[in-house]
Every structure is written in C-alpha cells, then in structure tokens.
C-alpha cells in the first residue's frame, strides 16, 4: 500500500480492481475505502450481499462476480469512496459520486480527473442519477475511449 495518509490519494495498484475481461457489457463496484472506520452503509445497501465486512469497523470488499452494478453503494457511501467501472461497446465507463455545482449535462463533454484532481482526458456524460430527493447530489457516468483510464478516473470537471 502506498503512503496514502501522507499524500491523500491511493495509487492504481492500491485498489483491488476486477479483471478487464470481466467488465465487458457490465458495471462493477470498486471500493477505495481502505481504512478501518466505523461505517457500514455500503454493505447494508447491497441487494445481493456482494460487499463483505468484518464488523462495523471492517474494510469493505466487493465480490466482483456477485456485484450487479446497481450503484446503491455509490449513492449511500458517506465517504464518496465507491465507484462503478465497466466497458461498453469498447469504451471505458466510470460512475462517480458528484456533489458540486454546476451539474454536468447529459451528453456534454467533461474533463476526466484522477485522484489528484489532474485532468487526464475528456469523456462524455452518459448518465446522471440523483441520489438525494431534494438535493443536487448525483452519480455521474462518463464514457471515454482510452480504457486505460478506467483505473484512475475518479472525478469530473464541467467544461465552462
């Protein structure tokens, strides 16, 4: 594990990631919650029990073969530490939680940001799902050509 408590971000190799063959045509949850904290809504919200945890202070682990990509865990996670990744028609697809204004528009082009907030490319917003009834808290799904970025795109920036 890299020195994430010094830098504030994980490296690609710190994250347990599904095999890319297994991602074709589906979305799968990845967790970037690596520290023992008293929290469990991700596991509780999963309809297929794909997230395992040893007690409330345990670290969540996703069973990639069981996950159906419903996004419940992404919507509920207070640490904004759950993401969805997948491959659709050859393109990389990532869903990230997003709670900033302005919200991106569906179909618009946005910058793809990595864990340090650096722009690493551009993608197209293919979906926006509200997670709070009355608030602008959403899950943004972006698609992009460069599938290498699946492992590192964890935020977006609206192009002004």
């Amino acid at each position: 594990m890299s020195d994430y408590l010094k830098t504030g971000y994980l490296k690609n190799e710190d994250v347990e990631f599904p095999k890319s063959d297994s991602l074709r045509g589906r979305m799968v949850a990845v967790t970037e919650c690596v520290q023992e904290i008293p929290c469990n809504p991700c596991a509780e919200s999963c309809p297929v029990n794909a997230i395992s945890m040893s007690g409330i202070n345990g670290v969540p682990r996703v069973d990639f073969s069981r996950c159906i990509g419903c996004g419940n865990c992404v919507a509920v996670c207070p640490g904004l530490a759950m993401f969805l990744v997948g491959i659709k028609e050859g393109k990389g697809v990532v869903s990230v939680p997003y709670e900033m204004l302005p919200l991106p528009e569906k179909g618009s082009e946005v910058f793809l940001l990595n864990r340090k907030g650096e722009r690493t490319g551009k993608g197209v917003v293919s979906g926006i799902r509200k997670t709070d009834k009355s608030r602008n808290s959403v899950i943004v799904t972006v698609e992009f050509e460069n599938r290498e970025l699946l492992k590192s795109v964890r935020n977006i920036e609206v192009i002004k």
Binding site: Y4, L5, K6, T7, G8, Y9, L10, E32, C33, V34, Q35, E36, I37, P38, C39, N40, P41, E44, S45, G55, I56, N57, V76, C77, P78, G79, L80, A81, E99, M100, L101, L103, L113, N114, R115, K116, G117, E118, D132, R135, N136, S137, R154, N155
Partner: protein, 467 residues
C-alpha cells in the same frame, strides 16, 4: 459580495430585510441572522480593537464560545454579537478595549424562578437526543441553548454521516438535525434560545441570562451537553480578522449562507479540517491548501481523498508560521517541520489567502461543571479537562450527568448515544423500567468505539471512568 447564491446541498431561506445602525450608518440584514453575520455579510471584518495595542479583532468561533466578537450594542458593552439576533433599529458600535460602562442605566425585569425535573444545557445532538428520550418516557425536560437555533453544530453538517445503518449512517447531519428538532417540538419540550447559562451553584441552581431576563433554574437532575470550543494555536498574527475556527467558517457557510473568504488556508487535516475544506469547495470557495503538522493525515482517509480529487493539496509535516495583513488576513506563511516538529529554515512559503481556518482541535466546554465542584481530570486523549463519570454518565455530583463532546471530543453519532444513555440513567434513577434500553445504548456505543479511531477515546475513558 459574500453571499452564497447557489449551493449543491443547501437552500438558504433568508428572512425579510431589516436595518440597523453600525457606527451610525445603516446596515441591511436579514431577519433571523445574528449581528456578527449581518456585519460580515456587509464586508465588515473588524468588530473591536485590542485593549493595549489597538489591534483589529473580528469573529473567531461564531457560536458564542470565545468572546472575540464582543461589541457595544444599544449602549451596552461586551455583547457577543455572533449569537445575538439582529433587530430592527438596534445600534451597534465597535468596542474599544475592555468596553465602557453603559451610557444609561439598563433595567431588567425581576428574575424568573423555575422548578424542573430535568434541565438540559445545550441542544446539540447529545442534548436533543437526551430530551427526546426523556420526553418519550413521560418526563418533560427544559432545554437551555445559547445560540438562536436548536441543534448545536449538527445544523451545519451537510455531509453524510458514518456509523451503522441503525444510527443514521448515510444520512446528512442537517437532515438528522431537522428530524431531531421536529421530534423535540412535537413532544412539546420547552426550550429557551439565546440563553446563556453563566453559573451553576452547588449542583442545584443554574443561572441563565435569557435575552434581557435572569432565570434561576432549580432542577432535580441536570444534563450538561455544552459541547466544545475550537482551539487557537500560537502564531504571529493569529488575532487578525480572517483567522477563524474551521467550525466558524462552517457556521457562516452552511447556516447563514455567507462565504468566510475567497481563498482559504486550512490548518489541520483531522476530520474537521478535511470535511470543512470539502464544504468550502461546495460553497464555491477556493481552498489553496490543507496543512498538517503531523507527518500523517489524522482524519479519515476517505475525507482526504474527496478534496484531493478536486486538486486541493494536503501538506503534512507543515505548519503555519504567520498571518500577514493590515485589517484582515492578506497572506499566510507556512513552513515545513522535521520529525521533532521543529521548523526547517528556508522552507517558508507564502500563500495568497484572505482566510485562515484553524481545525487544530477542540476543547470540551466544562467551565460550568468545574465551577460547581464536579471532579475533573486533564486527559489529553479526550481534548483537555473532562468530568469524571461512571458508565451511566453520572458525574461526581449524583444529580448531574454529561453527554456529548463535554465528556471528550468525539462525534455526533456517539454524542447521540451518550444523550440517550444520560437520559435513560436518569429515568432509571427515577424508578422507570428502562434497564434494557440503557444497556443496549451502552453496548452500541462501545461497538462504535471498537475500531482504531475509537481506541484513543477508549484509552482516555479509562482515565476518567469510575464504577
């Protein structure tokens, strides 16, 4: 303009516009905000000057705990303007030094005496949950709150909470606050707002200054849920307006819809510093950096990751050296630290910021208890002096209970459970059959504290818990 117009999670309901006089000139405010917020919204940073060196002073804590915002209001000096609701036509002046005597005699009505079963001081998560638990079991408590609203610091927590599914995890603090406030009101619990408890005499009588009248509250039981105050740390220029407690910045943004500044340096990478930085991004404020004196981020990693992915740098082993500015912060100088926490010469860096937020820890607000002779102990793991108590949260005075940050700095979820425990303990002392509820709450609390982040608290508790 310092007003936040659009916000992803909050919508601000602003009251009707009213006018008051500041240094003889009219200032526009919204009904329902405090004098300090109205002034700050209007671009006024300097509220008073220091007694000897005449240095400018502004607000620091924004919740009535530090006295940095004292001004002369309607001729009366030393009024904490951060908790005083603004009223049409009031006159507000900058205070010079320690303040001059009122220009004309102020008349107060005779004191009101109240006899209560249970009085609760403070209406944050601990106080509210105690009140709800008592009311649900047929005991109506009286709540004393020094701020203009119920809910303590919960009303500014816009983020979703951690914890277990049963204890509100995944819900936003503001929503938990509204639900709790709703329950308290529904249960018909009586409360005094804008009311400061200033003295606690022999564990029996609480003196309260409630908006121009004196209350003497005698009660069979008391629950102190007074919370905590933000710590100031020493550095040159730390008294300049624009240096705020991180919680104060949060109050400004999330309760009153006011930006504390445009470019901010956050000092401290514990949960408070990380969470408030994220909330600043949501309010459209630029966070230039988060610095942390320790070699590691102290808060939850997930909170750090949230701001890093928006490009906010976090510098560990770094501290603030000085704040520079004439009437408010214009620059901050930061410096790297070696393993012994000594400054490394030549590593100073100046940042263009107009605001410095201190998230360098909290101190339990215990002064009322200390005054009344409750036994205390200094426990650094808990944030400072804390009252000795048993696991039912009873202090060395048998009718006095404590809950929330006053028992040691923790979080809202544990404060809520402590409020329940204190209330059930009192109910059980009154002879009600609540043994099961009491032991359930106690075991749930110990489960929340069972991880590595709870270890420090558990360690500290050993120092102050007696059988």
């Amino acid at each position: 303009m310092r007003e936040i117009s659009k916000h992803p999670v909050l919508s601000f309901e602003r009251g009707k516009r009213i006018k008051f006089l500041f240094e003889g000139s009219p200032v526009t405010a919204y009904q329902g905000e405090t004098v300090a917020m109205a002034l700050y919204r209007n671009g006024i940073d300097v509220f008073s000057e220091s007694p000897k060196l005449h240095r400018p002073r502004g607000m620091f804590c924004a919740i009535g705990k530090c006295s940095s915002c004292m001004m002369r209001v309607n001729g009366v000096p030393n009024v904490r303007t951060c908790i005083l609701p603004v009223r049409e036509g009031m006159t507000v002046e900058r205070q010079k030094g320690l303040g001059e005597k009122p220009s004309k005699a102020v008349k107060y009505p005779p004191p009101v005496i109240r006899e209560e079963k249970v009085a609760i001081v403070g209406s944050g998560p601990a106080g509210l949950s105690a009140a709800i638990t008592l009311a649900e079991n047929g005991v109506a408590p009286l709540i004393i709150e020094q701020n203009p609203r119920l809910g303590g610091q919960l009303i500014k927590q816009t983020h979703k909470f951690f914890g277990s599914e049963r204890e509100n995890a995944g819900k936003r603090g503001i929503d938990i606050a509204s639900e709790m406030i709703e329950s308290v009101k529904k249960a018909g619990v009586e409360f005094y707002l804008n009311s400061t408890a200033f003295g606690f005499y022999e564990g029996k009588t609480l003196g309260v200054f409630a908006e121009n009248k004196l209350l003497k509250i005698r009660s069979k039981y008391f629950i102190f849920a007074t919370g905590a105050a933000e710590k100031m740390i020493p550095f040159e220029g730390n008294d300049l307006p624009g240096v705020f407690g991180a919680g104060a910045a949060q109050t400004m943004m999330n309760v009153y819809g006011i930006k504390p500044g445009e470019n901010v340096l956050m000092v401290g990478a514990g949960n408070v510093g990380l969470i408030v930085s994220y909330q600043m991004l949501q309010a459209g404020i630029n966070v230039k950096a988060v610095i942390e004196a320790a070699p590691k981020i102290g808060g939850y990693f997930v909170h750090a990751a949230k701001i890093r992915r928006f490009g906010v740098p976090i510098y560990t082993s770094t501290t603030i050296k000085k704040a520079i500015g004439e009437r408010r912060v214009e620059k901050a100088v930061i410096v790297s630290l070696n393993k012994k926490f000594e400054e490394i010469p030549g590593t100073e860096k100046a940042l263009d910021v107009d605001t410095i937020c201190l998230a360098t820890g909290l101190i339990p607000s215990v002064s009322l208890l200390a005054q009344s002779g409750v036994r205390m102990k200094y426990v650094s793991a808990l944030g400072g002096y804390v009252p000795l108590r048993n696991k039912y949260l009873r202090t060395s005075l048998p009718n006095v209970y404590v809950a929330g940050d006053i028992t040691g700095i923790e979080e809202a979820s544990t404060a809520i459970l402590e409020g329940e425990i204190a209330a059930y303990s009192i109910l059980s002392d009154m002879g009600k059959d609540v043994e099961k509820e009491l032991s359930d709450a106690i075991s749930e609390l110990s489960e929340l504290r069972s991880g590595p982040f709870g270890a420090k608290i558990v360690f500290g508790m050993k120092e102050v818990q007696y059988e």
